[in-house]
């Protein structure tokens, strides 16, 4: 009975991984050779949307001047934009630096929060109450938007069906060390292939919480961001789709970010992402299945996207199950034909962007040399499997205990601007 159950579980893992393998292969092929769905690049409205750029900050004295100076360089009507940096309980010089900017530029209006409920969702909610723009555009404090970024992102909202837009994230510190080089590969696969393919196929491009924007009135009319959810970006994606809105991916809107430079920081970041994403899985799986606002294609991709950060946990349990089968004398189950299936498991790890998907992205991006790092991603498998599984367990504990989530900021590495 026990053996039959474990074998059944292994078959479940194999089927699950094969489904994702096919999904990634389809995405890679579609992006490589399929027709590309363009973004709204050629919309030039004489009446630009009024926007509010929101930048959540917690102890960001090292990096805040980069993002603010980049935004000041952006090409957008000053009387149609404002910038609200959210100083969220900082204990460094963030407040003083922001006030200096405010003195120089009236449309930079810092929001100083000094209260116990720190976190991105609550900060965004407070900022939206103050915001005068109809579109909220969000950047993290370590981002460096290009000159045309605001125009590009705002133009999507000329389409009345669009609820949110997402740009492309590219690390700028790729040559710092091996980790940042590997993260560059993952980002390339995630945006150049995965997001663009989903946009091409009209499935679920994901709003990523930064380098993106959304309509303020949708958020306000639905109660704002939920402070109990860590992945407010994923939550917004599903909130929009399940109520009939679309999310648009702007591959041409490239923005530079600081990738984590130590494995410890990366581990914490991915664990937090996994926790937040799985919180959304628990909340939105039934809604995604039952909603009348999504077509079958969107539902299928939506469900698979919801499970993306649950699969490593299933695989971890699968590894334990395979060890159990070994000691139970069922080793032959792992041999022969079954290996065909097991190889599929090995083919589909690597932060869920399989190797040929990343290879395709590097090819499309024309990044020569870096493809030679692909085999190193194999070692990340266990690292990600462990950290993501911990995030999955955190999310389950959140549901069971109904505990309040504590927001943690990703450590910064950039030197303060002189």
């Amino acid at each position: 009975m026990v053996v039959a159950f474990i074998k059944g579980y292994m078959i479940f893992c194999i089927v699950l991984v094969l489904i994702y393998l096919v999904r990634h292969f389809l995405f890679a092929m579609q992006r490589l050779a399929g027709r590309q769905r363009l973004y709204y690049n050629d919309i030039h409205s004489s009446d630009m949307k009024s926007i509010t750029v929101v930048i959540p900050m917690h102890n960001e004295e090292q990096v805040l001047s980069y993002v603010l100076d980049s935004l000041l360089e952006c090409d957008y009507d000053r009387d149609r934009m404002e910038i609200i940096p959210i100083n969220d309980n900082s204990s460094d010089k963030t407040k003083e630096l922001l006030d200096e900017y405010h003195k120089k530029y009236e449309f930079i209006r810092p929001l100083h929060r000094d209260c116990p409920d720190r976190g991105k969702p609550v900060g965004l909610n407070d900022a939206m109450q103050l915001a005068t723009g109809e579109i909220i555009i969000v950047f993290d404090a370590d981002y460096r938007p290009a000159k045309d970024m605001l125009k590009q992102l705002a133009s999507a909202f000329e389409d009345p069906e669009v609820g949110a837009v997402m740009g492309r994230v590219i690390p700028y510190n790729t040559n710092k060390n091996m980790l940042t080089r590997l993260l560059n590969l993952e980002r390339s696969g995630g945006y150049q292939v995965d997001q663009q393919a989903r946009y091409n196929l009209k499935t679920i491009p994901q709003y990523g919480g930064t380098v993106g924007g959304f309509r303020k009135d949708i958020l306000l009319s639905t109660g704002g961001f939920n402070p109990l959810v860590l992945a407010e970006d994923t939550e917004l994606t599903y909130r929009l789709y399940t109520s009939g809105w679309k999310v648009i991916y702007a591959n041409s809107a490239e923005c530079y970010e600081e990738a984590p430079e130590t494995w410890e920081v990366r581990g914490k970041q991915i664990r937090r992402w996994a926790r937040g994403h799985n919180q959304v899985l628990f909340r939105y799986l039934p809604k995604t299945i039952l909603t009348k606002h999504m077509n079958l294609r969107e539902k299928l991709d939506g469900i698979m996207l919801l499970f993306v950060y649950a699969v490593p946990f299933f695989l971890l349990v699968g590894q334990i199950a395979s060890l159990a089968l070994f000691f139970l004398g069922e080793f032959s189950f792992l041999a022969g034909w079954w290996v065909l299936m097991f190889m599929a498991i090995y083919c589909s790890f690597g932060n869920f962007a399989p190797f040929f998907e990343i290879g395709t992205a590097l090819f499309l991006d024309g990044i020569k040399g870096e493809a030679m790092l692909l085999p190193l991603l194999l070692f990340n498998f266990y690292f990600y499997m462990w950290n993501i599984s911990m995030g999955f367990c955190d999310a389950i504990a959140d549901v069971v205990t109904k505990r309040k989530v504590k927001w943690a900021k990703t450590a910064r590495f950039a030197q303060k601007k002189a």
């Binding site: 050779a33 190889m343 090995y346 020569k368 692909l374 194999l378």
Partner: protein
């Protein structure tokens, strides 16, 4: 302001034009004959592997300890494998191994390297061996495999891996980039050739280690240097292929082949 030396093509929406029919035909022409040839020769392949292993191991293992057995491999044929006597570990060996694993795990934790991928991989490997040690301490007589059984299963698993690789390598190289068929064929057969050499060497090494140091290390060898290592060289060869293709399309003869739509 510095002047740009090169103006590169916009990467945002570019794609390549692939003749899907041609690519499918080419991929099938690589995969199907290779698969048929492979399946038709399973008997010969395992016989040759076993014979080679026998001859090599004869240098270090007495001939009286070795023999050759056969078993059925579903409808695909028969597998010939090396038969060797099973050696079990001494209790002290198990205890020393357990202690060593726990020390390694502990050290990796305190030197703060546990967050790194290689450290996590080593810890996972050590945990597998810890489970193995506990099994051998509690129920050594329940260990379900003899070395000959493992030898048979290893070969069956290796055959499965090779079949998977024929399919996988064909698919991943078949569609990336237009033309360059020779490079694709070389990559495809390169993977298979490397896999064949690696599979045989590993078989001989595993048989020797398990014969010499007991079946106690079977779990560790399978789960740590098993299929994952096979996959690593597939990815490595694929990476070289991708890199060459990128050079072609960025600086070489295929530079003008991009399309934007």
């Amino acid at each position: 302001m510095g002047e740009k030396k090169n103006i590169y093509y916009a990467r945002t929406y570019r794609r390549i034009k692939i003749d899907i029919k041609k690519s499918i035909i080419f991929t099938c022409l690589m995969i199907i004959p290779a698969m048929i040839l492979f399946i038709a020769n399973i008997d010969f392949i395992t016989e040759a592997m076993t014979s080679l292993a026998y001859n090599v191991l004869q240098q270090v293992i007495p001939a009286k300890d070795m023999s050759i057995g056969t078993s059925s491999y579903s409808i695909l044929g028969k597998v010939t494998y090396l038969e060797l006597p099973t050696k079990y570990p001494a209790f002290s060996t198990i205890c020393w191994n357990l202690l060593l694993c726990l020390v390694v795990i502990f050290l990796l934790q305190i030197i703060k390297k546990a967050g790194r991928p290689v450290a996590v991989f080593v810890i996972f490997s050590m945990l597998i061996h810890v489970a193995n040690c506990i099994f051998f301490i509690l129920a050594p007589e329940e260990f379900p495999y003899s070395l000959s059984m493992y030898s048979d299963i290893y070969l069956k698993q290796q055959l499965g891996i090779w079949m998977a690789f024929i399919l996988l390598s064909g698919l991943v190289v078949g569609f990336l980039g237009e033309g360059r068929y020779l490079r694709k064929v070389i990559t495809f057969f390169g993977i298979m050739a490397y896999s064949a050499v690696f599979g045989v060497i590993r078989y001989i090494l595993f048989m020797y280690l398990l014969y010499e140091f007991s079946v106690f290390y079977m779990a560790l060898l399978f789960f740590v240097i098993g299929p994952m290592f096979d996959f690593s060289y597939v990815v490595s060869i694929y990476a070289i292929f991708v890199n060459k293709t990128i050079k072609d399309y960025e600086y070489g003869s295929k530079k003008g082949a991009w399309e934007w739509s």
